[in-house]
Amino acid sequence: MNEQPSTPAQELPPNAVDPDVAQAEDRRWTPGKIVLWAAISLLGAVAWSVLAISRGETINAIWFVFAAVCTYLVFYRFYAKYIENKIARPDDSRATPAEYNSNGRDFMPTDRRVLFGHHFAAIAGAGPLVGPVLAAQMGYLPGTIWIIVGVVFAGAVQDYLVLFFSMRRGGRSLGQMAREELGLIGGTAALIATLAIMIIIVAILALVVVNALGESAWGVYSVALTIPIALFMGCYLRFIRPGKVLEVSIIGFVLLLFAIISGRWVAESDLGSALFHLDRPVIAWSIIVYGFIAAILPVWLLLAPRDYLSTFMKIGVIGLLAVAIIIVRPTISVPAFSEYAGRADGPVVAGSLFPFLFVTIACGALSGFHALIASGTTPKMVEKEKQTRFLGYGGMLMESFVAIMALVAAISIDRGVYFAMNSAAASTGGTVESAVAFVNSLGLTGVHLTPNMLTDLAANVGEESIVSRTGGAPTLAVGIAHIMHQWFGGTAMMGFWYHFAIMFEALFILTAVDAGTRVARFMLQDTIGNFIPKFKDTSWRPGAWLCTAIMVAGWGYILILGVTDPLGGINTFFPLFGIANQLLAAIALAVVLAIVAKRGNFRYLWIVAVPLAFTAVITIWASWQKIFSPVAKVGYWAQHNSFKEALAQGKESFGTAQNVEAMEAVVRNTGVQGTLSIVFVVLSIIVIVAAIVATIRAYRAPGSAADTEDPRVESRIYAPSGIISSPAEKELQARWDEVPAEHRAALGGGH
């Protein structure tokens, strides 16, 4: 060592609260703490009893909020802490990649509260808003239980542990970790599965937008206007005032409001409705063309500014909705379990509650896609290891709460209206009269739909018709408008709130489409680059354009199939989205399982193994039914074969398909869906088996597995772990605040 008498490092206060002190603080139960947690638990228990046991005519939405928030708090405090102590075992004296790799760019220690918002904005999208709406056909209780119980035992555990283990590995991606932990076969299967799953997810999200904008001049106009608004913002940031992100976002937001408000005038004018009243296939093709152009345009011009706008809207709308639900406290008349909870022929999504509830609601309870954010982006910004519980587990709880709010919004509207909006056009016939006849013929208790209910609501939200507006987004928008107008603006404002909600979802989804295409293009270039090295050069234009085109063609093909599907598109394709997302979750949990096993921690392996087993069982079972079920409504191949047979017999129409062309379309679509189901499930089984093999190997020969963590570096910074600091944390923070800035460690500098 050198002989310098004192370096700044020696003058620094400790880099972590003494673990024994922290432990003692956790275990010291003051009377105040006991009363607080007893009250939270009691309120949660009461709320759950009201939801589960009360069988009155109506129920107040506030109980959903209490049940959710109290459960989150209890599990965050106790179960997440247990996982921290038994599995993650963070060490705050260890520097995070953000500290030892700090580069002033993607590796940067970021304030935990800021990073929480950043992480949440990256994980929350349209998924938690759509799934719960569709699952509402089974009644409110199955969805509520799965969203809340699923998140605390599975979703948040996955996000937390993937974030933690990726952080210990310098922020490596899920694919790289799979390759390291599961070997070549498991790693390759995980990579292909990720790519395929990204394509299907982008396609289904785009389908949701198309369904929300189809035959809606107002919607098409205002969403289309977001493109020039984003381009303007991009140019403003590039040429006029670089770096003024907040300023330009506020300008953009005001322009966005104008786009929504002026939409009504446009839709009501002859020219406007002639220009913007578009059929679904036209919108689908526009999104495909847009998707390609957006993915090859410079980031600064379109993607980055729209991302600012989308983040701004996300925080605003979610905050607004939470406040509105608490203020309005809508009453809900949907039964706890509907007629469709025990049947497999629901008009919104087919399939029995077990397993299809669990794949219909993916995001919000357990979302594999989060593993891609929790590895890669966020771990490079974490300041302190112990913050991962707040960021990973806490961030996912927040997303779950968004899903609960979406569920509340969906069930606050009349049930008859709900089924008229969410049943496929093939069932409702597409007109008000036929939809009313269809919904009333379902024989649902308490449902008496009248034509006026549909026409009045359509007029109030400024749409021509709300019959068969499938995909979840329009229903959620009606629900949000229904809640918001009671708080603010009355019936006259319903059209604004409806289109505000549509805009908000469309923004998320377009950003996800564009970003997803870019990420997928890089993955594809990297893969092709193994055979044709030129493709590894991502700035090589022909390669970039070709790979972008391949990716757009991939999701575009599925999108067109969905839009033109005679059986209703979203109703048959959505299960694929859920299954794909949950299988990705199974892959992420499998990687975590192998890592925990290699650490020699078998006693607490169940914390990961139980949610892995659960998601593996439900998704493999759901895939099995989609592949092998003899019931045509459920099984893709059963449907495929029955239509094929009908065609062979020379029939001119079959089921809901009115002509030979539609019958051929069903045969083709079910063939694609069935094939994708097989591909997903086979890849996932390979990954899970590889993880189990790695686990058993680690059990048989403890300590033989190579350590894949980055080497330990002593930390030279300090920050508290969560949102509320403990006395010991406050005391240490105060000592750090006294250290003059020039004495604090210079971060990184390795370049």
């Binding site: 999208g125 670089p242 410079p298 600012y308 995001c363 989060h370 970003a515 971060l747």
Partner: protein
């Protein structure tokens, strides 16, 4: 009363602004300058315009996924 309230309001607005800027990455340049000053003292940092150009170029090569 109003005069006493003013600094409090200003402080909270400042906090909101700090939070939003951090979340949306608007503070990237400020943080880069701080990082640069700490690691490369005496060496000139990029101008704000140049920094953002560089940042978006980097994002072009390193796309970040957005969730569903």
């Amino acid at each position: 009363m109003a005069a006493a309230l003013f600094p409090t309001v200003r402080r909270s607005l400042g906090k909101v602004r700090w939070y939003l800027e951090g979340m949306m990455g608007a503070d990237a340049y400020r943080r880069y300058v701080a990082h640069h000053a700490a690691t490369h003292p005496g060496c000139a940092a990029m101008s704000e315009r140049q920094f953002w150009k560089d940042k978006y170029d980097w994002e072009e090569r390193n796309p970040q996924g957005r969730c569903c």
